[in-house]
Each structure stands twice: as C-alpha cells, then as structure tokens.
C-alpha cells in the first residue's frame, strides 16, 4: 500500500500563523479526514498540496512524483472541491464545464452527463444562481468526471442540508471502491468522518496532533467521567484535557490502558468520539464550567 501524498517537514509562516513541521503520508485507496478547529491550518495544507501556496520549507510528493516538477501532470489526476466557489459566477453551468473540460486529459463527457443528471444540475443556470449545495454538487460533478485518482475536498459538507450531506458521503464511499482512488477530506464536522473516514489527521495550531487509523483511535483514547474527588495531582497528569463542572469532571486520556488501570473501577470509562478527542485536545486541561 503506497502513499498517494507524501509530505516531508513542511513549514509555512504567515504573520501570526505558522504551519510547523508537517510530515505525513496519505494512503492510496482510503479516505483520510483532516480535522481541526478553524484556523488550524487545514486549508493552507490543502492549498500547498494543490500548488496554490508555496511551502517555506519541506517537500511534497504526489503519486510518488516530486510535486514541483510534475505539478500539472499531478493535478490532472486530482479532483478538487474548494471550501468556497471558485468558478466564474457570471457563466452558466454549461459554459463553465466547456471552459474546464479541455484541460483534463481523461475528461469523460458521459460521466459528467451522468452526474449532471444525478445532481439535477441545470446546464443553463448561472453559477451565481446556484445554491451553496448545488455549487458543491457542480464542483463534485467536475471533480468526478476526469477520472481523478485523488479527490481533495476542503470543507465540502459545510452548509449542506442533511439529505445531500448523507448522499455525498455515500458517493465518496462508492468512489473509493476500486481501491486505487483516494480521498482527502477536510472538515471540522467530525460526524462526517466518523461515518466514512479510514484515517484521521488531526491538526491544531499548525501542527499535526495525530495521524491514525480511525479504529486505532478508539484503542488509544479513553473518555472518563467521574466525581471531582478523584482528581488528585497524579490523576490529573493522566489527562490530555479535563472539563470540570460543579457536578464532576469529564476528561480525555491519551493512554487508554493506563487510564483503565487507574480509573475503571471508580469512574465511567467510554470510547470518545472524534469530536470529544478534538475538543479536549484543543482546549487542554483548563476547562471549567
């Protein structure tokens, strides 16, 4: 199993924000979810992969090829869905498709027609008149119509209604069935990733907090709920983050076996959701309600 994206020690600074020492491999044939709070660096990372932002340091390889040297050839194999509309708003769906299609060597008009019909995209409608959901559908129809081996999606589900959101996730699951296609998908809505992701990359404050298989997270992290009397200095040290209230505490432990050894008998131990892992990792141990 090879990496379709390989990032080595990427750095990027923008005034106050820094993306620091990002190294990771995105596995071919899987869905990798990129999670993190707003401003964590997810979009910057995606922009670097897309060649929109130049890293200050580090190297990017796509499909085993150096990204700088083979950027156009690599992008021919990428389907990109942005977090905002990037198409010309004054053009119609048909005109926009006509503009885009000739640039891709594997453009398939029949596949586009199929998605146009499936998504009920009206060819004569102007891009500016499409709703947020329809714009995402159009982006997706384009991304899926040129035989892309890698789909890169930046917050594709934000602003979508629950019905299409579910349809989109099903479509993505279907897309990677042949095991050669890969998806990298950024979001701050962790329920989407709970549903479809195989790997999770968690970015916070410009750094990778973890890059794990989703199943491995359940084995690694432990959510503990209990009375405040349990929280002496030694127990506190076990926690990655604690949320204290008048009634007790809720906290995340990074070493599940150690946490269970100390607290299984005295507190409620559960498997945390991605949202809980993200919340406690970002907030740390200083949460009081």
């Amino acid at each position: 199993m090879s990496d379709c994206i390989r990032l080595d020690h990427l750095h990027k600074s923008y005034g106050h924000f820094q993306l620091q020492d990002i190294s990771l491999g995105v596995k071919e044939g899987y869905i990798t979810g990129l999670i993190g709070p707003n401003g964590a660096g997810k979009t910057t990372l995606i922009k670097m992969i897309m060649g929109m932002v130049h890293p200050d340091q580090g190297e990017i390889q796509l499909f085993g090829l150096d990204h700088k040297e083979h950027l156009p050839a690599n992008k021919d194999r990428i389907g990109y869905v942005s977090d905002e509309n990037i198409y010309y708003e004054q053009l119609t769906v048909k005109q926009m498709k006509k503009v885009i299609a000739p640039f891709y060597s594997r453009w398939d008009e029949d596949t586009y027609g199929k998605y146009q019909e499936l998504f009920k995209l009206s060819p004569g409608k102007k891009i500016k008149d499409l709703s947020k959901g329809m714009k995402v559908k159009f982006s997706l129809a384009i991304a899926l119509s040129h035989g892309a081996d890698l789909l890169i999606m930046d917050e594709p589900t934000s602003g979508l209604d629950p019905v299409f959101r579910r349809e989109l996730l099903d479509l993505l699951t279907e897309h990677i069935q042949d095991e050669r296609k890969s998806i990298i998908f950024s979001t701050h809505n962790t329920t989407d990733l709970d549903r479809i992701a195989d790997y999770i990359v968690f970015i916070n404050d410009g750094r990778i907090v973890f890059h794990e298989m989703k199943e491995a997270l359940a084995e690694k992290y432990l959510l503990v709920k209990g009375g405040k009397e349990l929280l002496d200095r030694d127990v506190r040290r076990l926690f990655l983050g604690i949320r204290e209230s008048a009634h007790g505490f809720e906290g995340l432990i990074q070493n599940r076996s150690e946490g269970e050894r100390y607290l299984k008998e005295t507190a409620i131990c559960e498997t945390p959701s991605l949202e809980e892992i993200m919340y406690f990792s970002v907030k740390g141990s200083d949460i009081r309600v």
């Binding site: 929109m52 156009p72 992008k75």
Partner: protein, 212 residues
C-alpha cells in the same frame, strides 16, 4: 500550447457579453468623434484586457485557474497572447466603422492605416505595464491597477501627439509612409519587443512566487 489557447477561449467566453457594449461605443464615438477614429483601435482592446483580468480575480477565480493542470507560466503566457485577439477585435471594429463611414460618404479619404497601426501597437505596450502590476497587486489591488491603467490610456493619447512632435521622422512616416533612416525604426522595434519580453518575465516571476 493548447492550454494557452483554451485559456484565451475562456477569456473570450468571459468577455463576450462585454463585447456587445462595443457596438454602442463605436456607434456613438463614430458619430460624434469620427476624426480621431484610429484611436478607437486602442481603447476597446485595452478595456477587453482589463475586463478579463478583473474577472479572473473577482471571485477567487485565480484559485480555479491554479487548480487546473496548467503550469503558472502558461497562465501568464495566455494573458499576453490574449492581447492578439483583443487587438484584432478592435482593429476589425475600427475598420468596419471606417467602411460604414466611407460608404455613407462621411469620409472620402483613404484608411489611415499607419496611424491605425501605431495606435494598435500602443496596446501591447500599455498592456506590458498593466499586466505586471495586475499580477503584483492581485485581487486587493485590482481597483488601483485599473485606475492606473485608465490613467495610462489617457496619457497615451496626449503622449502620442507629443511623440509625433518630438519625432519628426515618425510624423513624416505617418503622413508619407517613407523614412529617412532605417536605424530608428529598427531600434524602436527591438526596444518594443524587449519591453514586452521583460514585462512577461516580470509578470511570470511575480505570479510564480505568489500564494493564491
């Protein structure tokens, strides 16, 4: 190379509605100010270029362009090559205007093709100042760039008449088509090509290093 052609086609699709506005422009200007008809070859071409550039930065569209499997060098090259069709559109419209004026008896003189050529040649020269600024200032500076460009258009009209005053040889060539020395036009031609080439290199350098 094909990518550049597709990019030019994209620009033409984007400005096609704007081109319809050239019809009233030529009708009004032809009716009110036909004497200076050769200048009509300059203004619409530049407005078409400015329009296509503005549309590219208006709504994150540079992000779209960068997402395409096209090197940045070709994106810049296409903008410079698009000067040709814009110039051609302007030239054809101006010649049509002259033809209508000639057939309707508004003018009886021959087509001032040398003046027309000079006006048309001024367009790539002005574009060579505009495009590096456009790439440098980007989305946020579009309004400033456009303002500078409009100023350049205005200045170019008065500069053209000054140039004719300063260069009697040019004035002589415009009126007779003859030149005393071949050296001056050759130097001017080389300088012209050099300015265009330097402009392209500056634009490329700026855009290639830019984060979108």
């Amino acid at each position: 190379m094909y990518n550049s052609l597709y990019l030019i086609r994209k620009d033409l699709i984007l400005v096609q509605k704007f081109m319809l506005l050239l019809i009233p422009y030529y009708l009004v200007m032809g009716y009110t100010n036909f004497d200076g008809y050769t200048l009509f070859a300059l203004f619409p071409a530049m407005i078409l270029l400015i329009n296509s550039c503005t549309l590219d930065v208006q709504q994150n569209n540079q992000k779209f362009l960068i997402s395409l499997p096209v090197p940045r060098q070709q994106l810049v090259l296409a903008k410079y090559l698009a000067i040709l069709p814009y110039g051609l559109v302007s030239l054809v419209c101006t010649m049509l205007l002259y033809l209508v004026a000639f057939l309707s008896g508004r003018t009886t003189g021959p087509l001032a093709w040398r003046e027309l050529a000079l006006c048309l040649a001024a367009f790539p020269l002005l574009a060579s100042f505009y495009l590096p600024l456009y790439y440098w200032l980007g989305r946020k500076g579009t309004q400033v760039v456009n303002f500078v460009f409009i100023m350049l258009i205005m200045l170019s009209v008065s500069a053209a008449s000054k140039l004719v005053e300063w260069l009697p040889g040019l004035s002589h060539w415009v009126s007779t088509g003859k030149t005393d020395s071949i050296l001056l036009p050759v130097i001017a031609g080389l300088g012209y090509v050099l300015v265009l080439f330097c402009s392209y290199l500056i634009s490329l350098r700026v855009f290639a290093a830019k984060d979108i």
